[in-house]
């Protein structure tokens, strides 16, 4: 599910950045987008296999869809009228499309994929709007997004703690590597 929706959202977000005016960012984005398109295909194929499986597996896929649909829309950031950095980044050419533009693009691309998969997206207001030529969709719960960004999401504490622990517990290893490198360099200089 993460592969299909989250990597899918990331690709939508990041493909335009492959032409960013900031060179190192653009180059890294090309490689990242290729990796993520691989993840997305792998994720989608796993889900297709499960949807063709047992009732319990289909229920798992639907449950995961219900959990991750709205967060994947949140990945594009706050709505344009609440995004303080967008204007500046676009003026500098670093960011090339607004959050709402990309979010709409993602919805338009993903709804047919969900239909093919056979899952229901958890948005009662989701429907094709022939006049606009896009899908209409319901409001994102930005309060939930803000809570997670501020550190109060269901996984924040555990994830940050794990990162900190790995980093601090690994300090002696990193230091040993530097010490060894210094000894090697000194040995070479003396030779």
């Amino acid at each position: 599910m993460i592969g299909w929706l989250v990597d899918g959202a990331a690709i939508c977000n990041q493909v335009p950045l492959c032409r960013s005016s900031y060179g190192p960012y653009a180059r890294a984005m090309v490689r990242i987008c290729k990796e993520e398109s691989f993840h997305q295909r792998q994720g989608y194929e796993l889900l297709m296999t499960m949807m063709r499986g047992t009732a319990a597996q289909r229920a798992m896929v639907q449950d995961a869809t219900d959990r991750f649909w709205w967060p994947s829309l949140m990945m594009f950031g706050p709505p344009d009228d609440q995004s303080p950095n967008t204007a500046q980044s676009m003026a500098w050419g670093i960011k090339r499309h607004t959050n709402d533009e990309l979010r709409q693009r993602f919805v338009d691309m993903t709804v047919p994929q969900a239909d093919k998969l056979g899952v229901t997206l958890p948005d009662p207001e989701l429907r094709w709007n022939a006049d606009r030529g896009h899908y209409d969709f319901g409001p994102v719960d930005w309060a939930e997004f803000t809570a997670v960004v501020k550190g109060n999401g269901p996984c924040n504490a555990q994830r940050v703690a794990r990162r900190r622990a790995a980093h601090s517990e690994g300090a002696w290893v990193r230091e040993a590597a530097m010490a060894h490198a210094a000894k090697q360099a000194a040995g070479k200089a003396a030779a």
């Binding site: 492959c18 987008c33 691989f38 499309h97 622990a165 790995a166 517990e169 290893v173 040993a176």
Partner: protein, 294 residues
């Protein structure tokens, strides 16, 4: 927003001449063109058990390495470790598939991996050991890789052509694993006084499990020309380990091998307490949905 903005997205899944990003291309199947039937004169049951032994070593060891993902000291080490774990998982798949073929009971690699019980796993105890810290991770990987590389070197000329092909492919991977572990043992042994102490202690902690790697077993004895005699690997492995220990300014630990249980150990299906938890983590999803296809 125009279509050409998303041309980059379309081009991501296309074939490209830019081979820095080759994915979905250039695969080689090590078993293509190889006759899968059990060679004449080879005991099929013994061959299946032998492949289970080597496959379980890889499967169980890979699982322990996977448990270190998100815990490594630096981001680059995460990728290195994940690659090693993935290599071993690949070896496990090939070996378990060969075991299933040889036993001829209609089982496949998944059924062997996820639906056998503890007493049916034939890995050595070194494979199932938990690494308490990064020094133990490096030391155990060094011993295991050096041993398995020596073993696969012999198996590349096995009378079973499938085993020979698996060994030839695996040896290239194991050479890299051994190098990775050796570099770290050397950095830690000849790094800071703290890392030296931890590395020496780590070796001492895992050394009682080394002896099992070289013990004879009835399955190997039933497969002359196909399997490799464990005792015959000792000299090569010792030479490799001694070279690394010397560069690392570490002492080879002394001490007695770990005692068996009524004469039995990992190869006989007698495992440590921690193994039960490992299998629970490995097998629980598959066992909860025994009729599912994933």
């Amino acid at each position: 927003m125009t279509e050409d903005e998303f041309d980059a997205y379309q081009s991501l899944s296309e074939e490209t001449e830019d081979h820095r990003w080759a994915f979905g291309t250039g695969f080689t199947d090590p078993l293509v063109g190889i006759d899968p039937s059990v060679p004449d004169g080879t005991d099929a049951r013994a061959l299946a058990d032998y492949c289970l032994m080597l496959g379980d070593d890889a499967l169980v060891y890979s699982h322990r390495l996977q448990q270190w993902v998100t815990r490594m000291p630096e981001l680059e080490e995460e990728t290195a470790l994940a690659n090693i774990a993935l290599d071993l998982l690949g070896q496990a798949r090939l070996l378990l598939s060969r075991a299933a073929q040889a036993e001829g009971r209609g089982r496949d690699e998944d059924q062997l991996a996820f639906f056998r019980d503890e007493h049916e796993f034939r890995n050595v105890l070194l494979a199932e050991r938990t690494d308490a810290d990064f020094a133990e991770l490096a030391g155990r990987l060094l011993v295991f890789s050096a041993w398995r590389l020596a073993l696969f070197g012999r198996l590349a000329s096995s009378a079973d052509p499938v085993l020979a092909a698996i060994a030839a492919k695996g040896a290239r991977e194991l050479a890299y694993h051994r190098d990775y572990a050796a570099q770290w043992v050397i950095r830690l042994g000849d790094g800071t006084p703290l890392s030296h102490g931890k590395m020496q202690a780590a070796l001492g902690a895992l050394w009682p499990l080394v002896d099992e790697l070289f013990q004879p077993d009835p399955v190997t004895a039933a497969l002359p020309g196909v399997a490799a005699d464990p005792a015959g690997l000792r000299a090569e492995v010792d030479a490799a380990l001694d070279a690394v220990l010397a560069a690392a300014t570490l002492d080879r630990p002394g001490g007695a091998p770990m005692a068996r249980v009524a004469g039995k150990a990992g190869r006989d299906g007698v495992h440590t307490e921690a193994f039960g938890y490992l299998l629970a983590e490995l097998q629980s999803v598959a066992r909860a949905h025994p009729d599912a296809t994933w």
